[in-house]
Assembly symmetry: C2
Homo-oligomer: 144 residues x 2
DNA sequence: CATAAATAGGATAAAATTATCCGAAATAAA
DNA sequence: TTTATTTCGGATAATTTTATCCTATTTATG
């Protein structure tokens, strides 16, 4: 569904959100350890999330990654996915055709459109706050 | 969503189905030209589809790929996807976690489960016949 | 101002996916 | 039985994705 980079990005964002609620900044090292991802690669992805203003970073001593507490509930999964994987998953054809739309549908166009629209809706309506809270309230996630 | 190999595989299977209805076998060359894919790579994918009994092949002169007419309506998209991409898309976790289930859900487990179940249902209920017919009846597909 | 700590970013490597090439094996027809 | 045709399958190459490493830049603190 998503690239590995995107999976790491989502996990990282959730972990940063959780820590931001507690006023803590986190480093790529902490993040990678927590979400079980390669550290340097994760750092790259974090740069991308910073560029797309999903998370913010503070350089230098006592720096790290964080998300403005008041914005956590406004950051949607769709933003993270778009930042890393682009919008192919939102708009692309299920069979990878260049031209595929209502007027010129591929054989699976309608069937995929339904699914994709739901995926899109879900991603656009799921925010970091609920994901972060779902973990606090006992759902497992990081570390089995 | 799917790998390129899988996209080619689906397109190829549809094209073979269309031709099988007309009693014609097709070669990787014809297929690749029609679905706009690399020929040798497409041939590999066809081998895989043969191994998984999605299509059948006849070697030698006047050979080619075909599908038993009476079986076209029983071949589901899910079989093709599984043959080429495996069942990760059907069972895998949205965040790529090794362990992710009801008892041990990742943060997006429930949200993804809904989508994945619908995708699964769609793939398991879409057969080659309807896809082939949708083209015959005027919907565009191959070649714009 | 010097130092230590942290992100940014370029260069490179490894792995996976996508793509190509070529000879072997099979088969229908002459 | 020979020949032409066609799939099969192994080897290899190119590209993309994933991953690592090292240095530069930034910044808080002493």
């Amino acid at each position: 569904m998503f690239s590995k980079a995107c999976e790491y990005g989502i996990k990282a964002a959730i972990f940063i959100a959780i820590n931001s609620y507690e006023g803590k900044r986190v480093s790529p090292k902490e993040i990678a350890e927590e979400i079980d991802s390669p550290q340097a690669f994760t750092a790259k992805i974090l740069q991308e999330l910073v560029r797309h203003k999903v998370v913010s970073s503070v350089k230098g001593a006592y720096g790290g990654f964080e998300i403005d507490k008041t914005r956590i509930d406004s950051i949607k999964l769709s933003q993270i996915v778009k930042a890393i994987d682009g919008d192919k998953i939102f708009n692309g054809c299920g069979l990878g055709m260049e031209i595929c739309n209502e007027n010129h549908p591929c054989p699976v166009h309608d069937k995929f459109k339904t699914i994709r629209d739901e995926l899109k809706y879900m991603l656009e309506h799921t925010n970091l706050q609920e994901l972060a809270l779902s973990i606090k309230t006992g759902n497992s996630f990081f570390k089995v």
